[in-house]
């Protein structure tokens, strides 16, 4: 007691205020928790369950906004690293191993930069144009199914919504270019208007054939129709449509070889010339979010959406194996669960550390233990992931969807590392002279085929 009273006598004035406060929190905290759990909680859940649609929308919007930023970071990092490797360079390599956090740090840098606007700019539009570009990009995420059931708003006219909202991006770019009061920006904005509006047409027309085949405008339903083996994907029934969609998608996302809106060797940085700070960051993020959306769309429409390329059930059935599920009920273990929780990490860490310690010379024990701990965690996460993959089909769907989408992001980056840029007249000529007739041809051939097959009684 004396020790405690002596130490209390030694505390500073600030401490004399803080320690009673802490005690107060200790007393009041549990009471508040109990109150929240018994009174507020049911009320909140009651409100939530009675307005499930709105809550679902808000949660989806928040999740998508939160997802779009790391997705953009990953794509920016990919762009830096992949192009560097294709250029025989090393690329970012300072922040974290292999520079993994480089784009995050660059994003923070953008946040700390001065955010100014030119004195002659139309300040209101100048301020809101990047927001518009970014939000229209993010809004298209709402109808993209990331997995079975993992869709923000399961609209039955999802495709229509997609092209409507996606076409609004150009308004933001045009406003950004016009309000900057800069000739390069103006040229960039007008170029983007001409380009995006022209490529919107083959982009939409190339999907019409697919819509005829699928018989629906709902993206979720299109995705479900491609289940099974990889030859059930629409790319094998609509190869020309897929090709046109890919090319027009590259142009829609303003990527090389169609990146005329920000052609740095012609019109410095296009519509983004006068932007700095986080406003530039918004434009920059929007570009990469667009890349991801285009890849996601290509995957969803033509490359089987979230479906695995191999029909696992069919394979298991061929080998006379039942599809297996892992059932875990920790309650079966009873008090043994506590023992498992206490002992398994320790034992597994030791077991994994022992071979490392024995096989390597001059390995200090703490380092071996650390390696063992890391290995154990990696194994645990892998095992949990496997269980989740097998148990929950949305996990499996998300994994496959992300794999395919980032494969296409890689293709976009790969093209940027290889191709020069086309000229504006070649760009427009290509859209109107080649892509549009090809898309129409695709549409008519598909329609004829459907009519003939239907009359022949084949489905």
């Amino acid at each position: 007691m004396t020790a405690i009273s002596r130490s209390l006598g030694n505390v500073t004035t600030a401490g004399r205020i803080v320690i009673p406060l802490l005690l107060l929190i200790l007393v009041v905290g549990p009471l508040v928790t109990v109150f929240l759990a018994t009174v507020i909680g049911p009320w909140v859940s009651g409100v939530v369950y009675s307005n499930l649609g709105i809550v679902r929308f808000v949660v989806a919007i928040t999740a998508i906004l939160l997802f779009s930023i790391p997705a953009a970071f990953i794509i920016i990092y990919m762009e830096l690293k992949v192009i560097a490797y294709m250029n025989l360079r090393v690329g970012p390599n300072r922040v974290l191993p292999a520079g993994a956090a480089h784009s995050v740090i660059a994003g923070l840098k953008v946040l700390t930069k001065e955010d100014f606007s030119p004195s002659s700019a139309d300040k209101t539009i100048f301020t809101w144009a990047p927001v518009m570009v970014f939000l229209t990009a993010v809004m298209t995420f709402m109808v993209i199914p990331f997995g079975p059931g993992l869709v923000g708003a399961p609209l039955n006219i999802g495709l229509l919504y997609l092209f409507a909202v996606g076409g609004m991006t150009v308004v933001g770019l045009l406003l950004a270019g016009w309000s900057s009061f800069n000739k390069y920006s103006l040229l960039g904005g007008l170029r983007s208007a001409a380009q995006v509006v022209s490529y919107e047409i083959p982009l939409t027309l190339s999907v019409v054939g697919l819509i005829l085949l699928a018989g629906t405008l709902s993206i979720d339903s299109i995705a479900r129709q491609q289940a099974g083996w990889f030859w059930d994907w629409f790319v094998f029934r609509q190869p020309l449509g897929a090709l046109i969609f890919f090319i027009a998608g590259v142009a829609e996302a303003n990527r090389t070889p169609f990146d005329l809106t920000e052609a740095d060797s012609e019109i410095v940085a296009g519509f983004a010339t006068e932007y700095s700070g986080m406003r530039f960051g918004f434009l920059f993020f929007a570009e990469y979010v667009n890349v991801f959306i285009m890849s996601a769309l290509i995957v969803t429409m033509f490359f089987g959406a979230w479906n695995a390329p191999v029909d696992l059930n069919a394979v298991l059935g061929y080998f006379h194996l039942a599809p297996f599920w892992v059932y875990l009920d920790p309650g079966q273990l009873g008090l043994g669960l506590l023992l498992v929780l206490a002992a398994v990490p320790l034992l597994a860490t030791l077991a994994l550390a022992a071979p490392v310690y024995m096989l390597r010379d001059n390995m200090p024990a703490w380092k071996a233990l650390l390696i063992g701990f890391v290995l154990f965690n990696a194994l645990l996460i892998g095992a949990l992931g496997l269980v989740a993959y097998i148990d929950w089909d949305w996990v499996a769907g998300l994994v496959w969807f992300m794999l395919k989408a980032f494969t296409f992001v890689f293709v976009f980056v790969w093209m940027r590392g290889t191709f020069p840029r086309v000229r504006i007249d070649q760009l427009m000529g290509f859209a109107w002279k080649w892509l549009l007739p090809a898309a129409l041809l695709n549409l008519f051939v598909t329609a004829f085929a459907i009519v003939i097959l239907k009359s022949a009684g084949v489905h």
Partner: protein
């Protein structure tokens, strides 16, 4: 000259017509701010319907240094243009007239920083004529060898810049890797990587050494293959070829009339090469072809691009012959330390990667030249942009300019 502050005016800058305030948007002063001095200027600075000026350079990302081109555009189409030079003017000729003959080599070295050995070669040859110096044959072979190596490096860099101006990110890096190998090689023998300062009056600074020879042998064994691999990225690329074809056409008569030299005139169908037309050094003893393209009257940017790639192949041939025919002997003639040539004049020209690079020197008998003049190929070739850029798109201006391969250091002197 700002007006003195008057009562009612808080700051003199309010009177300064060059400072534009928030309320004055739209009240632009005329471009340029002075009344037109010539008829051409008056014509250029009068805007037609729907036209506007676009300033390319001197800080534009792709104007090859500090060239400034004022474009008068109508939409995406260039109606007229006005190149503005002089942002890199250093007065090299006057500097050379005020330094003695040995200094001139280092003064003129950074003139064209991409191919600086050729900048040394021409004045050194002119001084040797003035002083009747017999250059040892080994030194001549070394000059040809290093010069052709640098020509390859320069053309490799051209290829990368060409692609970069058309929006390709990757070829410039491959070009720099190729150039870096050659530059490291030359650094082994000259000591420097960029401004070699290697040629001397009466020879070269040092003999070939083991490091250079081993690097060269290593490089020669894979030079041709590597070259073909690197150009494969562009030569067969439909986007690249379509952007280069049929823009920036130069026919034979225009090329002759404008005094174009180097690869640009050979791509217009005229086989003019100083190494063959006015042979110097040991080039008469070496076997090589003068590649010509555009004989059918095309003479477009693609021809100029492909011709430089042909020249790289010829240069590899020349290097091979140099290595086989390299004689023994000294690399430097015996000369007094202070050079005072007799009064007289001399002209010497070499075929630099950009064309005929010549120097004209008048000696008055002292240790400094009385007059020293430089004929720079980039300057002459750049005259073509006025003709070639007109009636093209903005994107093509860059392609045309890059295909002429100017270096601003030599143009502004």
């Amino acid at each position: 000259m700002t007006a003195p502050a008057q009562p009612g005016h808080p700051h003199p800058s309010l009177d300064d017509p060059r400072i534009m305030l928030d309320g004055q948007i739209g009240q632009y002063e005329q471009v340029p701010p002075y009344p037109p001095r010539t008829e051409r200027e008056a014509e250029f600075y009068t805007l037609g319907d729907g036209e506007m000026f676009l300033n390319m350079g001197p800080q534009h990302p792709s104007t090859h240094g500090v060239l400034r081109v004022v474009l008068k555009i109508n939409g995406e189409r260039v109606v007229d243009l006005d190149p503005v030079l002089g942002y890199l003017h250093r007065g090299v000729e006057k500097l050379c007239e005020n330094s003695d003959y040995h200094h001139i080599i280092s003064q003129i070295d950074p003139l064209e920083y991409v191919s600086s050995l050729f900048m040394e070669w021409a004045p050194v040859m002119a001084f040797e004529q003035l002083m009747d110096v017999q250059v040892p044959r080994r030194a001549e072979y070394i000059r040809v060898l290093t010069g052709e190596l640098l020509r390859i490096a320069s053309h490799a860099l051209f290829q990368g810049w060409m692609a970069l101006d058309l929006g390709g990110l990757t070829p410039i890096l491959y070009s720099f890797i190729e150039r870096d190998e050659i530059v490291e090689m030359l650094a082994a023998v000259t000591g420097q990587r960029m401004l070699f300062n290697y040629f001397r009056i009466g020879g070269v600074n040092g003999d070939l050494n083991h490091e250079f020879m081993s690097r060269l042998g290593d490089w020669m064994s894979r030079a041709a293959v590597q070259h073909e691999a690197n150009i494969g990225l562009l030569n067969e690329n439909e986007i690249f070829v379509r952007r280069m074809r049929d823009i920036g056409r130069v026919d034979r008569d225009t090329a002759l009339r404008m005094g174009v030299t180097g690869p640009n005139i050979r791509a217009a169908g005229i086989p003019f090469d100083v190494r063959r037309a006015h042979p110097y050094s040991v080039y008469p003893e070496l076997e090589f072809n003068v590649p010509v393209r555009g004989s059918n009257g095309s003479g477009d940017s693609l021809d100029r691009y492909l011709l430089r790639l042909d020249e790289v192949r010829e240069s590899i041939r020349i290097i091979d012959q140099c290595l086989h025919n390299m004689p023994d002997g000294p690399v430097m003639a015996r000369l007094p330390r202070l050079l005072r040539p007799r009064p007289g004049r001399a002209w010497a020209a070499v075929e630099s990667p950009r064309g005929l690079f010549g120097t004209y020197v008048i000696s008055d008998g002292t240790d400094q030249p009385f007059r020293f003049r430089i004929h720079d190929p980039s300057f002459v070739n750049l005259q073509l942009v006025g003709m070639l850029m007109k009636d093209n798109l903005i994107a093509d201006t860059m392609a045309v300019m890059a295909s002429l391969d100017p270096v601003m250091g030599g143009i502004d002197k």
